[in-house]
Point group: C2
Chain length 201, copies 2
DNA sequence: TGTCAAAGTTAGCGTCTCTTACATATGTAA
DNA sequence: TTACATATGTAAGAGACGCTAACTTTGACA
């Protein structure tokens, strides 16, 4: 997570400036929020001139898109790994997914809001695909638990209920002022409660 | 909601420029999002020079704060009114609150995200107070339904579960790309389902 | 070794931003 | 009517930003 942005050896050619810029951009989005992110800032952090990025990205938007793709792909694989340790068809797997979702939001609120916040223009197709992949994981687990033969209407409904809850929980716990209103409730306990309540008949 | 921003008579003194600027700011935040809002835009919309706002607001931030206050106050009173028609202690009142919450997010996504999105600096005390007032309404209703003698730990937990769910549902349905994954589920039906599932023993 | 494309830099254009100092118009109250 | 406080306009400062053109350094390969 704390990747190097500026290489020690100060050679003319950076080596992998593209990756360094993506990482710098990601860090800055986390630190200042997307609305205060500037290309110049990313350049300063990566230790290159303000013109350098344009050898790797068409414009500012493409830098941000690159960060979003990298981050969502990482999240997808995190979710797959989170489920792994628990037996198929168990509620533990659902809980693990919820725990990871909330954890991701807390670790990377900037990216989380970038993905789900207000954006005038629609996302890249690749972003939507990654989002769908990730949601498929949830729907698959829900179907297993409910004993449904695939993504039926019932599975869709329960999955969306779970997503809504976990998403809201993420947003609220991201903001200390708001989380406080929950009265220091344990996230783990809330996930436990919601799991069986939503998935029971 | 579609308030006049520029008065027809073009007198030197506007009459109520402050209110006009607040409304222009609110509209622009809805249209372009907070990160693309500029004082100049608000001035253009209100039909005054770019220096005019500084007789009414200390700076840009105070304009935005004014909008937030106005909007949250309105939301609080909407919530109070939403509950009114239904008998005390009934689940209908909870559902009405949820319906209004989601509705507000859909009608005014810009303000909704401004309130709940990523902001480096904490909100005004007045904003927090209004938020608390609104949440108190929910906790009060939950206590009534559960037959608890006030805001007990149980009331806190269930209220926060409801809030999380409704908040997540708001965020997801605000974004057409994401709402689609719910498979055109009826919000009303989701609120019904969640209500009893969360509040039952 | 010589050539060339790739990956940097320097310099700057054009635009937008927030904000202020100062001039001007207007309404009000004596 | 006159004086004055209030509300607005004009003009401009000071700075950030995105992006481009043109130049320079570097590494790889014939």
């Amino acid at each position: 997570m704390a990747k190097t942005v500026k290489s020690e050896k100060t050679t003319y050619h950076h080596g992998d400036l593209r990756a360094a810029l993506v990482e710098a951009t990601r860090q800055l989005i986390e630190e200042k929020g997307i609305d205060h992110f500037s290309v110049s800032d990313a350049c300063r952090r990566a230790g290159v001139s303000t013109a350098a990025p344009y050898k790797h990205f068409k414009n500012k938007g493409e830098m941000i898109n690159a960060v979003m793709l990298e981050s969502m792909d990482r999240h997808k694989h995190e979710m797959l790994a989170a489920v792994q340790p628990y037996p198929e068809g168990s509620l533990d797997r659902i809980r693990a997914l919820g725990r990871n979702y909330v954890g991701f939001a807390q670790r990377e609120p900037g990216i989380f809001l970038l993905r789900f916040g207000q954006n005038p223009d629609p996302h890249l197709p690749e972003v939507e695909d990654l989002g769908q992949d990730t949601y498929d994981i949830v729907q698959h687990e829900v179907a297993k638990i409910l004993g449904e033969p695939g993504v039926t209407d019932k599975v869709k409904q329960r999955s969306f209920m779970l997503w809504s809850f976990v998403h809201g929980l993420s947003m609220l716990t991201m903001n200390p002022e708001l989380a406080e209103k929950g009265g220091n409730l344990d996230v783990e306990e809330l996930l436990n409660e919601i799991g069986w309540r939503v998935l029971r008949d």
